[in-house]
Subunit: 567 residues, 2 copies
């Protein structure tokens, strides 16, 4: 529809110096460390230095969405466009986002910096190394792995059971051949043979640990508590037992400082950490939000997948650790997503849209509404005001938007159509006004569960109260792990449910708002360093593969050094 | 004696802004990209932008040494101290060095930023991620590996022989368990099982390729030529065949820009690339030297190990590619090294020095002189003036220094004692004056061999003319590889001899200046992308391990974020 490509728009942007962007948040230059010309790290000393603000002042808003479909709902573009829209109507605003993983950039996905006129720039840096945080996480994670195998090699004084080592290795690459391997082959000097594997760096416990750390000291303490496996006697072996936590903290020291980028319209964007949304929290870092909420009027932060996924972890895990409390939640929805949730269309990733889906048909939209309503209910369970953002596409029809507007108004929910992809912040002004209205409403924040409940009850609470399951079915292996974790002192940790993001239920095929189902808890694992227990309720892939003709084949440099094929 | 520790000295230093350091070389601010407060990358556009210098103006000096001993000869400290000494007597000088590998920092070695009052700072950044170049190399290398295994998985259209894949994976960590492994285990969706392994990142062909690239375009072309293995029919399979070179170039784009740091006395230090000294060139990047030699009066560059190793590759490989020609070579020697080369002492790494080695004994020094003389002869074969730098230790005796001075003077070689570790640049002024004298001597540069000679003759030429071997013994496997490479068109490449650095010969136990020996060529490999063929003439370890109590156990952060244990 006449909009240039994302990379064309991004390349044409003229970026402001990071010190100027930081200045918009009142961050003094001495806390701004440039990394190249258009990116900076914010020194966390700005949280503790004398004379710097120590209290939250911003309204804090989480950006979530309906259940994802293969079409993409535009949560990142909405977060970015809404930030620009709020800036246009005079609010001092910051947006905090996850850093995209580099590996998948060379697989099938395009860039993950927003899109159209709602992008974070520089988009090439964002999609590649940025300031090297992911690489630092890879290095810290793999140093611990090397120390584990080194311990086995040098006599295994801690009596680590080689069959019960849970710490794998990580790389930020899509490489299926690394999922399962045997290490330590060769001769006696080449280590102890055992089965292991690699995950992608975004799935590293160090990634989510960094995102949940509230300070360098807290980072160091969480690293100490990482459990790499168990002794023959069943005792957890920690990074601290192996003397590795200090070195890991040194490797991660700079990575703990959030990265400052900017939107196309010059709004500050803090990009920091990218934990997986399925097995981990799917939220950007706490420290970025601490920096932003002490300085801006409004802080928008995106949580991964739908409200049942990233938003639930935002509330029950991230906010619990940070102490910050949200004032509103934006739920992004598209007409296409609701039509998909009607169950009337066969939508597949990478395949062209069924043409009949583009026809004007408010009934199809209405048939998908239960999914949106379910996500509104989820937000309501936390005592936070939801705002519905209808992310408009050129192929939408006004009558279809009206179905969503009517539904929201019936529920007393603020709602607006937003056209930020085509129009930038100007297209999001109506949504900005709707959000301001929602921010005037009182909140009554509550967690889904209290920490002192047994782990199994916490899982049950999320399943029933958030997902709407009838209950949970704990398989024997999971039950004995839960019992063991309670005994080992992990019982007071919050929980993360690792399930599909493609349904509110644990069955990816159930669209809309499924009822009458039970959550099967197959397996339970502890991320003791990051600080949660996670229940595995479906197939979780932690190392992607490449397609037969991966995007890497199209990514290249022109003779004058311009990047092509990145989006 | 009484010198504070390296990290104490480095931490106490007050660093100048990178833009100011770049200004000393006349590099305008628009080519200086800050990475944090005290490090910058130099944009290679400064080599081609209108109005910028295009010709070498500097005198170009390679810093080499006698055959290394477990004690360390102080080549890096001498390069740094000499640079500061030259600056003190009014010369505009730059020093170019390799970037140390992070992995071994957590093993047994201390920092690699020089020592005492001759250090490159910030030393913590230098010993850790610096600007992420090593991580970028890891990512580019492993993307190609993933694409190779992906190709096997998706039907192997190129008919790659899985038993003849030479491209392994890399990580910047000491991890012996990764040396030999089986990848692709699991189920049908998890790739094709085959044997493989990891090397440390410094051993990556991408590392040496980056160090030899003369421009972004040249980098792209070298990446295309990387050979990852062979088809069943014996055809080389390249990164270009797999469509991977463009994506690798994109990953490496920023890494090609050299890193600007500074000595404790504010002399510009370009730190860039760190290829292994045994299987690769052991020299820092060409682009850093191109930048420096167009702007400084004098450029000092360190080459790894003794003159037989890094210095020979500097001459025959690096200078051949860059077109730069050296004007002098500094040979660093210590009294301890010569005493060790006497063969009269049993010196072991990590063990205390035999006390009798510290006693005044010019005879022991004299007995070790043949090693120094051999290295002087090696430098002379290239038609370049050597300068002998006696790196003084507090335990040395003047009579012992005199033995070396007398020997050098007998040969008509410039010589000086240098005390830069204890005194900084002031301690190296005598050496600076000696170097200036040598730079006034005429040079008559010549390579050891011409490129159009057969590969086997080039190996033979290095063995005889540089090492002083009586000849080479090519084992059958090596002979057939050499024949195959000539047929495949690799015959015109220069050669690198992968042998021990602990002797001028291929036997690490032969100290001094061994004669009457022959070089056994066991195996030959092509680094077709980097652009050389290497002959393996000994045990080469390309992935170190950790000791039973690695340095990682002592590295930590203090509560206020200071790093301890790094050196």
């Amino acid at each position: 529809m006449g909009i240039p490509t994302d990379i064309e728009i991004a390349s044409a942007a003229s970026l402001r110096p990071p010190v100027e962007i930081a200045g918009r948040l009142g961050i003094p230059p001495q806390f701004v460390e440039p990394y190249g010309r258009s990116v900076a790290k914010i020194d966390l000393a700005c949280l503790t230095a004398p004379g710097q603000p120590t209290q939250q002042r911003a309204k804090y808003v989480v950006i979530s969405a309906v259940t994802p479909t293969p079409l993409g709902e535009g949560k990142t573009t909405t977060a970015v466009g809404l930030a620009d829209g709020l800036a246009r109507i005079g609010r001092n605003v910051a947006v905090t986002l996850r850093q995209p993983s580099m590996g998948p950039t060379f697989g099938i996905k395009g860039g993950a910096a927003g899109g159209g006129y709602s992008q974070v720039v520089p988009m090439d840096k964002l999609n590649l190394h940025l300031t090297g945080d992911f690489h630092a996480i890879t290095a810290a994670h793999n140093l611990l792995a090397a120390i584990v195998d080194n311990h086995l090699h040098h006599g295994n004084q801690l009596q680590i059971d080689p069959h019960n080592i849970t710490w794998r290795r990580v790389l930020d690459v899509n490489d299926r051949a690394l999922r399962n391997l045997v290490v330590g082959l060769g001769s006696k000097v080449d280590g102890v043979p055992r089965q292991s594997g690699f995950d992608i760096t975004a799935a590293s416990e160090v990634m989510v640990l960094l995102s949940l750390a509230t300070s360098l000291e807290d980072l160091r303490e969480r690293l100490r508590r990482i459990v790499i496996g168990y002794s023959y006697a069943g005792r957890p072996i920690t990074a601290d037992d192996l003397g590795a936590a200090g070195a890991m903290a040194v490797i991660l020291q700079d990575a703990l400082n959030p990265n400052l980028l900017q939107t196309l319209e010059g709004t500050p964007a803090l990009i920091h950490c990218g934990p997986f949304g399925n097995i981990a929290t799917g939220n950007s870092s706490i420290v970025a939000d601490l920096v932003a909420t002490r300085r801006a009027d409004i802080v928008l932060t995106e949580a991964g997948f739908g409200a049942d996924m990233g938003c639930e972890r935002f509330m029950n895990v991230k906010c619990r650790v940070s102490g910050l409390r949200p004032d509103a939640a934006v739920l992004v929805v598209t007409i296409r997503a609701l039509k998909t949730h009607s169950g009337r269309f066969d939508v597949k990733a990478g395949k062209p849209l069924p043409p009949e889906m583009l026809e004007e048909n408010p009934d199809d939209v209405r048939a998908g509404l239960p999914n949106l309503i379910k996500h509104i209910e989820i937000v309501n369970t936390f005592g936070v005001s939801p705002v519905v953002a209808i992310n408009a596409f050129p192929s939408d029809h006004a009558s279809e938007h009206q179905v969503v507007i009517d539904a929201a108004e019936r529920l007393g929910i603020d709602v607006a159509v937003t056209r930020h992809v085509a129009e930038g912040g100007a297209g999001a002004e109506a949504l900005a006004e709707a959000l301001l209205k929602a921010l005037d409403r009182p909140t009554n924040f509550r967690f889904t569960y209290e920490l002192d409940a047994p782990l199994v009850d916490k899982i049950d609470a999320v399943a029933r109260k958030v997902y709407g399951a009838e209950g949970i079915d704990v398989l024997p292996a999971a039950a004995s792990a839960l019992a063991a974790y309670e005994k080992l002192g992990f019982g007071a940790l919050p929980v993360v449910i690792a399930k599909t993001h493609l349904s509110v239920s644990s069955d990816p095929k159930l669209l809309g708002a499924p009822t009458g189902w039970r959550l099967p808890v197959r397996e339970v694992r502890a991320a003791a360093g990051a600080g949660y227990v996670y229940a595995i309720c479906g197939e979780m892939r932690t190392m992607p593969g490449l397609s037969s003709h991966p995007n890497a084949e199209r990514i290249d440099l022109t003779p004058d050094g311009a990047i092509i094929g990145l989006s």
